[in-house]
C-alpha cells in the first residue's frame, strides 16, 4: 500500500511539474523544472522495477539534457513570451 501511495504521489507531482515547466516564462526556470520532472520520472520507473531505464533517465534526462538546455538558453533570450 505504501508503494502505491508513493506511486500516486509521484504521478500527481509529475503532472504538476510538467505543467509548471511549460507555464513559467523564464526559460532557465523551465529547464530546471524539467530536470525535476525527469528525476521524478526516474523515481517512478525505479519504483516500477525498470532499474536500467531509471538509471539512464537519471543520468541522461535529469543530468545531461538539463545541462544542455541551460547551456543553450544562456545563448538565447532568457524570457519567453508564453
Amino acid at each position: 500500500m505504501g508503494l502505491e501511495l508513493l506511486n500516486i504521489f509521484i504521478l500527481l507531482l509529475l503532472v504538476v511539474t510538467a505543467l509548471a515547466a511549460l507555464r513559467v516564462r523564464d526559460l532557465i526556470t523551465a529547464a530546471a523544472v524539467f530536470g525535476v520532472y525527469s528525476f521524478l520520472m526516474c523515481l517512478l520507473w525505479a519504483e516500477m522495477g525498470a532499474v536500467d531505464v531509471a538509471f539512464t533517465e537519471a543520468t541522461v534526462g535529469a543530468g545531461v539534457s538539463t545541462v544542455v538546455l541551460v547551456a543553450t538558453i544562456f545563448n538565447l533570450k532568457r524570457k519567453s513570451n508564453d
Binding site: 500516486i8 503532472v15 511549460l22 523551465a30 520507473w45 525498470a50 545531461v64 543553450t72 519567453s80 508564453d82
Partner: protein
C-alpha cells in the same frame, strides 16, 4: 462499464498510470502545438516522449515480480548455480563446470518483462541526442533571425519572402548584397517585437518603411528609387544603418534594449 463510478474506478484507481500517461502526452502535445517559443516546444516534445516511455514501462510491470536481473538462485554465476554445477561435475566429469538451467514458465512470472525496458533505454539516449540537435537548430535560428519566438519568426520569414519576390534586378542585387547573417538587422527586430501579430504587423511594417523611404533613399543608390520595396532589403548594409538612425529615432531606442543589452544581461547571470 459506464455505470456511475465504474469508469472513475477503472481509470483513476486501477489504471492511474495509464491515465497519467495520457495526461502527460496531452500536455506535451498541447505545448508542441500552442507554445510559441521553440524551446518551450522542445520541452513539450520531451514531455511527450517521456509519456510514451512511461506507457511502455507500465506495460512491463507484473505484480509480485522483481527487477529483470536474476536472483541468486537463478544467477548463472551465483553460489546456487555453482553448487549445482559442482555437484553435477562430481557425478559426471564430462559436463562443463557451470551449468545454468533454463527457467521454468512458473519462474518466468518472477521477473518483470525486460523487452520494453530495452526498447526505452535506447530511446532515452537517442532522445537526448535529438534534443541536442534541435537545440543546435534553435541556436542557428537565433543567429539568423534574432529570435526563437514563432510569431516573430513568421513575420520575418514573410518579409524575407517579399524581399525575394521583387523584380529580377532587385533579386540579383539582393543575392549579391545579402549578408550571410542578418542577425544584426536592428530595424527588423524592433518592429516585430512591437507588433507581434502576424498579418497586421506585416502591413504596418510595409507602410512604415515606405513612409520612411524618402529620407533614407536619397542618401543611397538610385536603384532604391526604382523599387520602393527594395528599401526593405537595405538595412543590412552600413549606409542604411546610418540613414535609419536619423530618420527613425524612436524605433531605434526601442530596439536597443532587445538587441544590444542582452549580452550584458547574460554576463550578469553568469
Amino acid at each position: 462499464m459506464f455505470e456511475d463510478g465504474a469508469i472513475i474506478n477503472e481509470l483513476l484507481i486501477e489504471r492511474l498510470n495509464y491515465f497519467i500517461y495520457v495526461v502527460l502526452l496531452l500536455i506535451g502535445l498541447h505545448a508542441m502545438i500552442a507554445k510559441r517559443n521553440l524551446i518551450k516546444k522542445l520541452i513539450g516534445m520531451s514531455i511527450f516522449q517521456t509519456a510514451i516511455i512511461l506507457f511502455y514501462v507500465s506495460i512491463s510491470v507484473k505484480n509480485e515480480a522483481t527487477i529483470p536481473i536474476y536472483k541468486a538462485e537463478h544467477d548463472p554465476h551465483g553460489a546456487a548455480s555453482k553448487a549445482a554445477a559442482i555437484e553435477l561435475n562430481s557425478t559426471n566429469s564430462g559436463k562443463p563446470l557451470y551449468a545454468p538451467t533454463e527457467l521454468q514458465s512458473s519462474e518466468t512470472q518472477q521477473y518483470a518483462n525486460p523487452l520494453p525496458h530495452v526498447l526505452m533505454l535506447t530511446a532515452i539516449v537517442v532522445g537526448v541526442a535529438t534534443l541536442g540537435l534541435a537545440l543546435a537548430l534553435c541556436l542557428r535560428i537565433q543567429q539568423g533571425y534574432g529570435t526563437v519566438e514563432e510569431d516573430e519568426l513568421l513575420v520575418k520569414l514573410e518579409r524575407s519572402d517579399a524581399r525575394y519576390s521583387l523584380s529580377p534586378l532587385a533579386k540579383a542585387i539582393s543575392s549579391r548584397r545579402r549578408p550571410a547573417r542578418n542577425s544584426r538587422n536592428p530595424r527588423a527586430t524592433g518592429k516585430s517585437s512591437s507588433t507581434p501579430k502576424r498579418s497586421p504587423g506585416y502591413g504596418k511594417n510595409l507602410g512604415s518603411t515606405k513612409a520612411s523611404k524618402p529620407s533614407t533613399a536619397k542618401t543611397k543608390t538610385t536603384q532604391a528609387n526604382k523599387n520602393p520595396n527594395s528599401v526593405n532589403r537595405k538595412p543590412g548594409t552600413t549606409s542604411a544603418k546610418i540613414g535609419t538612425k536619423k530618420s527613425l529615432p524612436p524605433k531605434k531606442t526601442s530596439i536597443k534594449p532587445a538587441g544590444k543589452t542582452s549580452p550584458q544581461q547574460k554576463k550578469g547571470t553568469e
